[in-house]
Symmetry: C2
Subunit: 341 residues, 2 copies
C-alpha cells in the first residue's frame, strides 16, 4: 500500500508509492505490450492507456476510441491511489497515512506534437478547460486538500520518454509544505495590510514595467522579483481571483493566448529548453468531518509558475532553500520581450 510519511522535524511529506502491488504490476505489464515505436498518446492508440477518465470528444465517437481532442487517463504508474480510505496512524514518534489521491495524465492533443507551445490557441483553450473540469470534479472529494496541475517538458525537467504533449494532475490528502508557506505568507500579508500580496505585486509590476514580459486586458506575465530559475515567468489574472477553476469561460481565450505566447518566447530565446510549469490554485476548502473551519486560502490569488530548467540545481539549493540565479529578472524580461514572434 502506498504511504505518505511526515518528517518529524520539518513536517515535510514524502510519498512512497507501492511499486510491488497488484495494480501497479498489471499496468507495468500493460506498458510492456506497447509495440516499439508506438506512441500510446496518439489518436488510434487508445488501447495502450488505462481507460479514460474524461475527454473532450465528438458526439459520434465512443470513449477509449478515436475522435477526441483532449483526453485524461490515470497515470500508468501512479504515485497515489484513489480507492484508499484516509487512515492516519503513528509509528511511535513518526506519522504516516495511506497515500490517498489521484494521479492523472492530460493528453493535450491527438496529434504527435511534443511542446504545448506548438499547438493552436484554440487547442490550448481546450487543455485549460480540461484542467478546470478535472479540478472541479476532484474538489468535490473531501479527502483531497490540494490539487496540482503540472508539466515536465524535456528529460532534464523530469519528463517521461513519451514525446507527445501531456501534463499531469496530482490530488493529495495533505497540504504540502510549499503550499502552506505560500498560503500563510499571503494570509499574513493580508492580515497586516488588508490587501492581497499578489494584487500589490501586480500593481507594482505594471507600473515599474521592467519585469513585465507581456500582458493583455485580463492577464499578465512577469519575471518575478525573486526568480529562483533563470528566465522564470509567472502568469497571473489581473483581477483578484482565488481559484483557477472559477475562471470565466470567456477568459480562457485570453489566458491560453498569453500562456502560449510566453512558452513560445521561452522556446525561441532559450532554444527549446526543458521546463516545468505548475498551476497554483486555491486549496480545497471543503471541510472534513470534525474539522474546524479554516479561512486559509481565502486571500490567495491563483497563478501559473513556469520554470525553465537549463541551469543545474545543486546540493546547496536542495539543502538550504536558498537559490542562486545568474540572470536577474529584469534581464530575463528584457530578453523575452525582445523575442520576435
Amino acid at each position: 500500500m502506498p504511504t505518505l510519511r511526515r518528517d518529524p522535524i520539518t513536517a515535510r511529506w514524502v510519498i512512497n508509492p507501492d511499486l510491488a502491488d497488484d495494480q501497479a504490476s498489471s499496468l507495468i505489464e500493460m506498458e510492456k505490450l506497447i509495440p516499439h515505436g508506438t506512441c500510446p498518446f496518439c489518436e488510434g492508440n487508445e488501447k495502450y492507456t488505462p481507460p479514460e477518465i474524461y475527454a473532450i470528444r465528438s458526439k459520434t465517437s465512443t470513449p477509449n476510441g478515436p475522435g477526441w481532442e483532449v483526453r485524461v487517463v490515470p497515470n500508468i504508474s501512479p504515485a497515489l491511489k484513489v480507492e484508499l480510505e484516509l487512515d492516519q496512524r503513528a509509528e511511535r514518534m513518526y506519522d504516516l497515512m495511506n497515500a490517498v489521491g489521484a494521479h492523472e495524465i492530460i493528453i493535450e492533443t491527438p496529434r504527435h506534437i511534443a511542446n504545448i507551445s506548438d499547438l493552436e490557441v484554440g487547442q490550448v483553450v481546450k487543455v485549460m478547460q480540461t484542467y478546470k473540469e478535472r479540478i472541479f470534479d476532484l474538489k468535490k472529494d473531501k479527502r483531497f486538500r490540494s490539487i496540482f496541475i503540472f508539466k515536465n517538458y524535456g528529460e532534464r525537467a523530469g519528463s517521461s520518454p513519451i514525446k507527445h504533449a501531456h501534463s499531469q494532475l496530482i490530488a493529495v490528502s495533505v497540504t504540502p509544505k510549499n503550499v502552506k508557506e505560500e498560503l500563510s505568507g499571503a494570509k499574513e500579508y493580508y492580515d497586516y495590510k488588508e490587501r492581497c500580496v499578489f494584487c500589490d505585486m501586480i500593481k507594482q509590476e505594471l507600473s515599474a514595467e521592467k519585469r513585465m514580459v507581456c500582458s493583455n486586458n485580463d492577464f499578465l506575465a512577469i519575471a518575478p522579483f525573486a526568480s529562483r530559475f533563470s528566465h522564470e515567468v509567472w502568469i497571473l489574472p489581473k483581477k483578484h481571483s482565488v481559484d483557477f477553476e472559477n475562471t470565466a469561460d470567456e477568459q480562457f481565450e485570453k489566458l491560453a493566448s498569453l500562456f502560449k505566447e510566453v512558452l513560445l518566447r521561452l522556446k525561441i530565446h532559450l532554444n527549446d529548453p526543458p521546463y516545468n510549469y505548475i498551476f497554483h490554485t486555491g486549496p480545497n476548502r471543503t471541510r472534513r468531518r470534525g474539522e474546524a473551519w479554516k479561512t486559509i486560502g481565502e486571500d490567495f490569488h491563483w497563478h501559473i509558475e513556469i520554470m525553465p530548467r537549463y541551469t543545474r540545481i545543486d546540493g546547496f539549493e536542495w539543502g538550504t532553500g536558498l537559490y542562486i540565479n545568474a540572470t536577474t529578472p529584469e534581464q530575463a524580461a528584457t530578453n523575452l520581450r525582445k523575442v520576435k514572434i
Copy 2:
C-alpha cells in the same frame, strides 16, 4: 554588485551573483589561462587557483606552493562577496540586500582522485578538520548567519567539470528558508516535549533497527523515516551536540570512518551515483548590533544529509515541496547494510 532578493510571499531568498563585475571577469580570465587537460586542484598547479585562504601543509612548504594535504581557496566565480557592507533596502514592496558572504572551495586531496570515498580515513579526518576550522573562523564574522559545507559529486548533482575531490563552503547573511524550518521545527518539538527531536529519533532508530545503515560508539547512519531521495542517508552524533565545529578532536577518526563507510556503501550499491551532501550545523548565534537575543538554534542537533541523485526531480517536487520516493527507507537501509566492504 551581487544581491540577495526576498520573495514577498514565501520569504524565500535568492542570490543574484553579479557576473559582470570586475573581480568576476578577472577570475574568468584566470580560468582561461589554465592549459587544456590541466587540473587546477592538483598539487603543483596552485597558480591556477586564486590565493589560498587556509591549508593543512608541511612546515617547510610555502603558501600557494606544493606540500599541502587539504587546501581552501575562494570560488573562482563566487555567488557572494566577502568585502561588501551589510546593506538592506527596499524597492517599494520588495526587500533586497547586498549579497555579502563567503564562497570557498575545499580541495580534499593533492592527488587527482574524484570521490572522497576513495581517500584514506586519515585524509578524510583532515578534510573534516578543515571544515571545522573554516566554520570556526567564519562564525566570528557577525555579518554571517548561516554557514554551509556541501558537496556536488557527478554532473547530475551539479558538480563542476573538475574531477578532483572538492567540497564547497557558503556563508550568508540571512537564514534560508529550509534552515529556519528545521530550526523552528526542532524548537517547537523541544518546547512541547522538553526533549531534542533528533535525540528522540536516534533512540527510536537504534531500538527499531530497520532503518539503521551502520554505527559506531559515537555516530550513527540511518535512512531517515521520510527520505526525500532513494537511499538518502543521515549521519548524526549519538550524543546531543548543536554545532559540528564543537566536535572533539578525538571524535574525528570515528566520524570520518563512518562517513567514508556510508559513501562507500552507496558507491558500491548504486554503482558510483551522483550525490550531494550537506552539513547541517547550528546557526551563528553571535548578535548583530541592535538585534534581540534569539535562542533559536540552542536545541538543534548537527548532522550530515547525504542525497544520492540518480532519480530525477520533477516540477511536482519543486512546486509543492512534496516528494515522491520509490524506495522505502527500510528497503534502502537493508540494501546498504548488505553491501560487503
